[in-house]
């Protein structure tokens, strides 16, 4: 069976909130963080809106040393540091410890290292000025930059791992941390993921014609998961972080407990039978959800809320079909389902951890956040799960168990089952 794993701290950097109280307020009230970006109009992007946190470098001043902050240019790393350290203090810990914490590790995910930093390196080197790059470039263009900053600041001495699985990264990072604790390899893990979508990454997606382009004049209506008038996703940026602990370790230090991470699974459809580089194969998705439920040792009937991947592309319809098959529930018997992306867009690697933070808050505070812009649900979705399970305003309801899943390029799937903590 393994050790029980509980969630004791949360941290967030989101387009609609830079700390947990503001983020909670935003998701309870359906506040969108999607804005028009004049630069994208200038760059002739089809999609000219995005979800960008209102982050300023000054906000990191009390998080890392002045010498470390001086020369830090990578925004994804910055978001990750802020979310992770906020989660750490939320869990009741001090930021600086005298000694290495051998029982605590970190799994933090990201997609691309910050291309603003890479661009600076390319420009200097091509101008034969590599001598002027200085000592701070390598640590910020390496994929493990974010884990190096977080673990160094907190003095973490257990497994320090950066992982990357496209849009499945966030939930996968959390799952990896969970497994290390479950199987006794660590007592506590700082887990999460970050993403800074700059113009170059944005341009790549824009060229694939998978981004929302019809709502540039109405940014808050642009991210429309499960809507018949959706025409693609809205890229977002940010970071989410959680502190996972061995239950006994958490109880021994009198930690507050948000919930229990009961189980999860990550797999791939192997890019066969409907799966491809860019599309999740149904068989893999269904297996992943079923395996997560089995790992959590619960019944599919116990799930009160599905926090979907649901990006606002043509894949939404297929995703709901997969959930129906995996849970063996449909119509009014299907759980409530929502997509945080309707408020903050799709922050790629960061999506899974930001959405898991939202899921834990809904579990803790007993509500279901609204789906924005769902005035016209896709008819095929209505046919199989009905309108009652697609809330467009906040629903107050006791949530005992939530299923959170994400599906990424490369046909990689990841699913978590989170429940209220019961002392039994």
């Amino acid at each position: 069976m393994g050790n029980r794993v509980v969630i004791t701290g949360l941290g967030i950097v989101s387009p609609n909130g830079l700390n947990i109280p503001d983020f909670l307020h935003a998701i309870q009230n359906g506040i969108s963080g999607i804005r028009f970006v004049p630069e994208y109009e200038d760059l002739k992007f089809n999609c000219q809106v995005s979800g960008m946190p209102e982050f300023e470098w000054e906000q990191l001043r009390n998080y890392i040393t002045e010498t470390s902050l001086y020369g830090l240019k990578g925004k994804g790393i910055a978001y990750g540091i802020k979310a992770a350290l906020d989660a750490w203090t939320d869990a009741g810990n001090e930021i600086v410890s005298e000694d290495t914490l051998w029982e605590t590790g970190c799994v933090f995910g990201s997609s691309v290292a910050d291309t603003d930093v890479i661009k600076n390196a390319i420009t200097r080197v091509d101008a034969r000025e590599s001598k002027k790059l200085g000592s701070r470039v390598v640590e910020q263009i390496m994929n493990s930059g974010v884990t190096a900053y977080i673990s160094g600041r907190l003095g973490l001495g257990n497994k320090i791992i950066n992982n990357s699985a496209a849009c499945a990264t966030g939930t996968q990072s959390i799952l990896m941390g969970y497994e290390y604790i479950k199987f006794g390899m660590a007592k506590r893990m700082v887990v999460g993921s970050c993403e800074y979508v700059d113009r170059y990454v944005f341009g790549g997606f824009d060229s694939m014609r998978v981004l929302s382009r019809k709502f540039n004049n109405e940014p808050e209506r642009a991210s429309r998961p499960m809507s018949a008038s959706a025409g693609g996703f809205v890229p977002g940026s940010g970071a989410g972080a959680l502190i996972l602990e061995d239950l006994e370790f958490a109880l021994a230090r009198g930690a507050k407990i948000y919930g229990e991470l009961k189980g999860g699974s990550t797999n791939s459809g192997g890019q066969k039978n409907g799966g491809s580089m860019t599309a999740p194969g149904p068989e893999g998705v269904i297996r992943c959800i079923k395996e997560a439920i089995a790992d959590a040792n619960i019944s599919a009937d116990e799930i009160d809320l599905v926090s979907g991947h649901l990006t606002a592309t043509i894949a939404d319809k297929l995703e709901i079909q997969n959930w129906v098959k995996a849970l063996g529930r449909s119509g009014d018997d299907f759980p409530m389902v929502n997509s945080l992306k309707s408020m903050v867009g799709h922050s790629l690697s960061a999506a899974g951890s930001i959405e898991t933070v939202a899921a834990v808050l809904q579990l803790k505070h007993n509500f279901i956040h609204p789906n924005l812009n769902l005035e016209d649900p896709i008819p095929e979705i209505l046919d199989i799960i009905g309108a009652n399970n697609l809330p467009t305003t906040k629903v107050e309801k006791v949530i005992n168990t939530v299923a959170k899943a994400n599906f990424g390029f490369g046909d990689v799937n990841s699913c978590l089952i989170i429940s209220k903590y019961n002392n039994n």
Binding site: E66, T67, G71, G134, S135
Partner: protein
């Protein structure tokens, strides 16, 4: 530029790289960059890059290796400045 003036300018160059602000205020020619000012050794290259820009000089590898305390830094900088002048 005499040694006193260079030392005063050098304080500004070193400032972003040390947490020991009090120690920095009272530096003299004997102050060791790593031992006294607790500067991360990797940042010595940043200090050299900043000093090159500050004094409009070029500091080669051999000269850079000598720059471990304030006095050595002033030696190298004043030598290069005088060459340029």
């Amino acid at each position: 530029m005499d040694r006193k003036e260079i030392l005063s300018e050098l304080k500004k160059v070193l400032a972003p790289y040390t947490e020991s602000k009090e120690m920095l205020a009272g530096i003299n020619e004997e102050t060791d960059l790593i031992k006294d000012l607790k500067i991360n050794s990797a940042n010595l290259v940043d200090i050299i890059i900043d000093a090159e820009a500050q004094y409009n000089i070029e500091i080669d590898f051999d000269a850079a290796e000598k720059m471990y305390n304030v006095g050595n830094c002033i030696d190298v900088i004043s030598e290069k400045i005088n060459k340029t002048a």
